[in-house]
Point group: C3
Chain length 281, copies 3
């Protein structure tokens, strides 16, 4: 025990040290504290950077989820002819690209298409589903990319539709079928969206809804027997000459089954990062 | 060189300072260390808050993903008449709302519906798919919202079904078709879920599975010719009078195609935050 | 005011203290600084751990999103016979498990299947869609699990297909139909993927694409009347005896509708964590 001085002994030894020596020790402690503090400060700044990066990654995932919800919500509204609610999903300068035409402005072209054209045509102007009128737009297969600034985004989705009028339908389509003494209209449809989105005041909105119907098939006969020219693909007559027409024509033409076209992808091959390979290698 | 004292010179100068002066310098250093430390400490507390917020955001995304997986897993099980596994996806006090009835309690009402009713009816009581019996429930178009406390959540999904018995089927439905000397039963079906979820011990479970079939279509004729009253929509007879009946009636009635109804949304318009617009503006 | 010494008074008192006493105070301050610093340092290290854990959780969500995008991109490519791009989605030692056969190696077996077999058969060797040839592979219902090391992952998806040749089709299938003087071939198909993924250089790739077609239905008659043996399910002839054959046979046999099989799940019941229940409890 004698050879190992106790804490108390060491403390007394410390007290007996010359004041000068003690001063030096305190000084060293303070200097160490300052050094350690700078290192902690640096490490904090590194943490802050890491947290900043993670916050951005997290934000991108939240944006992706918000855009999925936005498009899926659009799908549920459009099923049920809730067109006023569809229109509200667009940015003020939002656009619809559809059937060769461009409809511009939420309260102008976009509303003209959904409310003046579709709502009148499908439900005679009353938001909500018409009796015996089916218009299910199944939405799936999202490929969503948020831009680095997190203010804009692009997404590809697919729609698969079941549509038409029941034999007892009181909808405009049902009435038209009866008047024309033809069998009720019922069809399958497949199509692809390549949409743009914009975030305004923290809320994601549709910038461009670009829906490309690709094929239609009458229920009775299927896609093997779709009438060529099922929908006319001539350039539409523009507004205001056509009161429900588009504001401009799409640059790209459009084609329908049995023609087959590739709706351009907003993204490159996710593994190679290269554009489409259109020749056998 | 003479006008700029070297480090060594300056250090010697420091050593020659009066002890008193040196004491003051050390003291200032120590005081600075304490100040810097408090500031670092404050910055840490700010970091901690930021991390707490991010941890919550991250948790919500994980919850969303867990609920998507849960519902999609349900979909794969129900395709294959794996009803014991379906029942295990529910909370103890979970419910099914289906076809006008409410089935209460995982081991009671929920099990009664899936195991005593569906399993007996579709596979004669043996979990797993019956020969020649198709019951594909395609699941898609999720709109998921986790509540702020991260203990409950709501989600909308869509189902699209292909169902029926093959002409050679040994399933109860196939046998019934042959006995009745009718063509094999085969149909399309579309419907919407508006489900509730609860997290118990860190695991998301189904609180209320609320499936709303919306339309059926016999394969041969399609939705334009669905028989009115395809499924009876009278109020079901309750358990125990009906041994496989529900425990209670749904408040909301239910309707089937060619009637059209909007399954109420658990969320407001994602852009405006307002409820559905049911009048043309 | 006299009883409460002002700051100035207290400071003068401090100055009048014996140097020894002041030294002790500075020392205590320095010691406190060191202690606080260590505690801040500990708290930092705790923050670092928390950030590390969150970074991993975040990474898993990003991986999940990347795999969803990868599979959905695959779906869009395969619709349009963009097989060179499909092949590029695979890891070098990637595999396809399909129709009883295993195709090994991105540039070997995988390419043999997609480019030498499908591309030749469907478009006569030209990447891109053939006129009047429909091959839509709707992709949905993902259940994705990233392994803890974030280098491998597994996912279940569902495909629902619309396929066949239009009556005017210039595709090989259309030509074959006309030559055989039969009605155009058109069918529905349902199937399930159970895929594996690998991350190489930060990019997710397909390790094993395991597609299980489950049922086919000719458009005219539906799944109730699918011809038994719609596709032969005999073991395929291997490469090189069969120039477009697989490299090996799948261990598991395969079966098609009206047989029904459960494609094995890569995951346990998400609530109980237990394997499938195959007996009524």
């Amino acid at each position: 025990m004698k050879t190992v001085p106790s804490m108390q002994v060491r403390f007394r030894y410390f007290q007996r040290m010359k004041r000068e020596r003690r001063l030096q020790l305190w000084g060293i402690a303070a200097a160490l504290a300052v050094l350690l503090l700078f290192s902690a400060s640096c490490s904090n700044s590194k943490l802050e950077q890491q947290i900043e990066a993670m916050s951005n990654q997290l934000g991108i995932l939240e944006d992706t989820q918000a855009i999925r919800n936005l498009h899926h919500a659009y799908g549920y509204y459009i099923d049920k002819c809730l067109y006023e609610d569809v229109v509200d999903l667009f940015a003020e300068d939002g656009e619809v690209h559809f059937a060769g035409g461009i409809y511009r402005g939420r309260t102008k072209g976009v509303r003209r298409l959904y409310v003046e054209s579709f709502l009148e045509g499908f439900t005679a102007g009353k938001p909500g589903p018409a009796h015996g009128f089916l218009l299910d737009h199944l939405q799936m297969q999202d490929v969503i990319h948020v831009d680095p600034d997190r203010k804009t985004a692009k997404a590809r989705f697919r729609a698969f539709m079941q549509a038409g009028a029941h034999e007892t339908s009181k909808s405009p389509m049902g009435e038209a079928d009866r008047k024309a003494k033809r069998k009720p209209t019922q069809w399958w449809e497949g199509g692809i969206y390549e949409n743009s989105y914009v975030k305004e005041d923290g809320v994601w909105k549709i910038q461009i809804l670009n829906y490309n119907p690709l094929w239609h098939a009458d229920y009775a006969n299927g896609w093997a027997h779709t009438r060529v020219g099922y929908l006319g693909t001539d350039a539409p007559v523009l507004y205001p000459q056509n009161p429900t027409g588009p504001d401009a024509l799409m640059d790209s033409g459009w084609a329908l089954w049995p023609e087959t076209m590739i709706v351009p992808f907003h993204y490159k091959n996710p593994v190679t990062g290269k554009p489409l390979i259109m020749e056998k290698r």
